[in-house]
């Protein structure tokens, strides 16, 4: 997967590049509309991460150009503007998703992969790591082919963990992913632990290995290399 990140803050851009690089995603950056335009015309990308507030203009103006390209890449808007307006305007003009800043890198990756799966791999929408497989079209999970009976939240959690495999996910990031803004009011993340415990129990119960690791007090990770 090849991505263009249009973001003027170099530190933020570096964070994203580094995180995606770890997942084997090639990420180029542009820190202004001008450079972005240039790159979009010269190369083709699978997805564009578009910041709206750029030094030389509003990122929304790029949408038209992006959509006019032959193999039009997906667009994920990342913006600190956060206003509801921008969200609707962006989605109206053909953006695929909207992620308000500040975002968790794990969340960005999850959204990116979801968009990618939706558009490029239509139909064969599956995630497979070792003996665990997930069919996203039917929303079913299997361990060694055995159906895993998960609640909606547990299912979402498993996808989130597997998408960000081998990465430590902060409890805050997990809570944000599952409950959205609701977690703003709740800084007690015991419920993340509850869900994690249940999910682990179900996977192990179905004969899977204990992939879900607790990382000190920080968070959790799906450890592919569990023996």
């Amino acid at each position: 997967m090849k991505i263009l990140l249009i973001e003027d803050n170099s530190e933020l851009a570096e964070n994203v590049v580094r995180y995606l690089d770890h997942e084997g995603i090639l990420c180029e950056t542009a820190n202004s509309l001008f450079i972005a335009e240039d790159k979009l015309l010269s190369y083709s990308y699978d997805c564009v991460l578009l910041d709206l507030m750029l030094p030389d203009g509003d990122g929304l103006s790029l949408l038209e150009l992006i959509k006019s390209r032959k193999s039009s890449p997906n667009v994920l808007i990342i913006s600190a503007k956060g206003a509801l307006d921008d969200k609707i305007k962006g989605l109206d003009q053909g953006a695929d998703d909207y992620l308000p800043k500040p975002f968790h890198l794990s969340e960005l990756l999850a959204r990116l992969k979801a968009i990618y799966r939706r558009s490029k791999l239509d139909g064969s929408d599956e995630i497979q790591i070792k003996e665990i497989s997930i069919n996203l079209t039917t929303s079913e999970a299997f361990v060694n082919g055995n159906y895993l009976d998960l609640t909606k939240k547990e299912f979402d959690l498993l996808i989130f963990l597997m998408t960000n495999k081998n990465r430590v996910l902060g409890k805050e990031a997990i809570a944000q992913h599952l409950w959205g803004d609701y977690t703003d009011n709740l800084a007690n993340f015991d419920f993340v632990y509850q869900h994690m415990k249940n999910l682990r129990k179900k996977i192990c119960g179905a004969g899977g290995k204990d992939y879900l690791k607790t990382v000190y007090g920080l968070g959790y990770k799906f450890d592919e290399n569990t023996i």
Partner: protein, 417 residues
């Protein structure tokens, strides 16, 4: 009370007092003047009677109802004019009335006559009546004058003041228009208007600056906080010891806290600036039920019991996004400040939305908790902006928000109509 009414009232009271005091003196003056004039007249009468006696008229023929002549011993000294009030019979009235009697004695042709002349005295009642009548007429004239002229004139004089007053009442930050007043001809009003113009300009400038500041700060802090979050997320994935993990976690949590504060403050600023589009009629029941569904899980994980009583199709005029924030904050607050094994009760009727929860009795005045950064608990996760946001939302949309606590029950209630 209106200024012009106070002025009228005070003026009338003063006039009345003036008329009373003046009336009293006028009464005294009239009374003494009448007596003095009458005394002089009687003196002349007595003198003319004495002249008649001198010219040889027999004194008996001169006596009538008003004239008394007596002979007194010759060796007495001649008496000077002597005036006194007396009661005497008055034929036309057929009764005794108060009269003024003037007497004087003369020695004429070897006889000593004392001549006394009476005259009816004007009764004090009559004087009082006259004075009071006059004063009432004067007072009524004053009243008419005040109503017709003074009020009319005062209204004209006060017009610039009234105008300034109505401008102040209409002052609105969102219109961003400082006061502009014409010069009136009155120095004090011009000073006032001058001050108002300067103040409104300053206020609007400060307001704009604060507004810009809160708009900018949200973006300016969010970016570095975002960078920090990313770096910490990378750090989490390095080979770290448990101790380092704790440090990272602590830094991470505090950074999240900064982001929550900034987010809440920028929301508050937007609400205060009325930056959200015109509200629409939204189905509050639907939004509430959707949010309860989300919250149910959090409530049960927190070991709390939930009781809900939601009437269907309750509508409110509010931006749907804001309605959601409002409900999230209220439910979040009820869950966060609960106690072990506690409960949350959510009730929605067409009249009000009520969210009650159990919790430790408040140490602070519930009203204070609506202020920014005022919090009851010492929980570090709580930033103390939740209820301020609710309060600001209600203010912006003209709803009445009440937060009260009775022992272990805390109640947040929003009146919808």
């Amino acid at each position: 009370m209106k200024l012009i009414n106070i002025i009228t009232f005070v003026y009338l009271i003063l006039t009345l007092a003036g008329l009373l005091i003046g009336g009293f003196f006028i009464y005294l003056k009239i009374d003494s003047e009448i007596e003095f004039e009458m005394g002089r007249e009687l003196d002349r009468q007595v003198d003319s009677v004495a002249d008649q006696i001198r010219s040889g008229n027999p004194y008996q023929s001169l006596v009538n109802g008003r004239l008394e002549i007596e002979i007194i011993p010759f060796d007495r000294l001649e008496e000077e004019l002597y005036l006194r009030d007396t009661l005497a019979f008055h034929e036309p009235n057929d009764k005794k009335v108060k009269q003024l009697k003037a007497s004087k004695s003369f020695k004429i042709d070897g006889e000593h006559y004392r001549i006394s002349y009476f005259n009816l005295l004007v009764e004090t009642d009559d004087i009082t009546e006259t004075v009071v009548f006059t004063m009432v007429v004067v007072f009524l004239l004053q009243l008419a004058f005040i109503v017709l002229f003074l009020r009319g004139i005062s209204n004209r004089i006060f017009r610039p003041f009234q105008y300034s007053l109505s401008k102040i009442q209409d002052f609105n930050f969102s219109q961003n228009e400082p006061f502009i007043f014409e010069k009136s001809k009155i120095k004090e009003f011009d000073q006032l208007n001058d001050f108002l113009m300067r103040m409104s300009k300053k206020l609007l400038k400060d307001y704009r600056q604060i507004k810009e500041f809160s708009e900018n700060i949200s973006h300016e802090i969010q970016t570095p906080a975002s960078v920090v979050r990313g770096k910490l997320e990378h750090l989490m994935n390095e080979e770290i010891t448990e101790e380092q993990a704790h440090l990272i976690h602590s830094a991470y949590q505090n950074n999240e806290r900064i982001q929550r504060i900034v987010k809440s403050l920028s929301l508050l600023a937007k609400l205060e600036n009325n930056e959200f589009e015109t509200p629409s009629k939204v189905n509050l029941s639907e939004i509430l039920l959707k949010n309860i569904e989300m919250a149910e899980e959090l409530i049960s994980v927190s070991n709390l019991s939930l009781e809900k009583d939601v009437e269907n199709n309750v509508f409110a005029i509010i931006h749907p996004f804001i309605a959601e924030i409002l409900i999230q904050n209220l439910i979040g607050n009820a869950v966060k400040h609960n106690q072990k094994g506690g409960w949350v009760k959510i009730q929605l009727t067409s009249k009000f939305l009520k969210i009650e929860n159990s919790g430790t009795p408040l140490k602070k005045n519930p009203e204070e908790l609506l202020q920014r950064f005022q919090k009851e608990s010492d929980k570090p996760e709580s930033i103390g902006l939740g209820l301020s946001i609710v309060n600001q939302i209600c203010k912006s949309y003209g709803l009445l928000f009440m937060y009260s606590s009775k022992g272990e029950i805390h109640t947040a209630k929003i009146l919808l109509s």
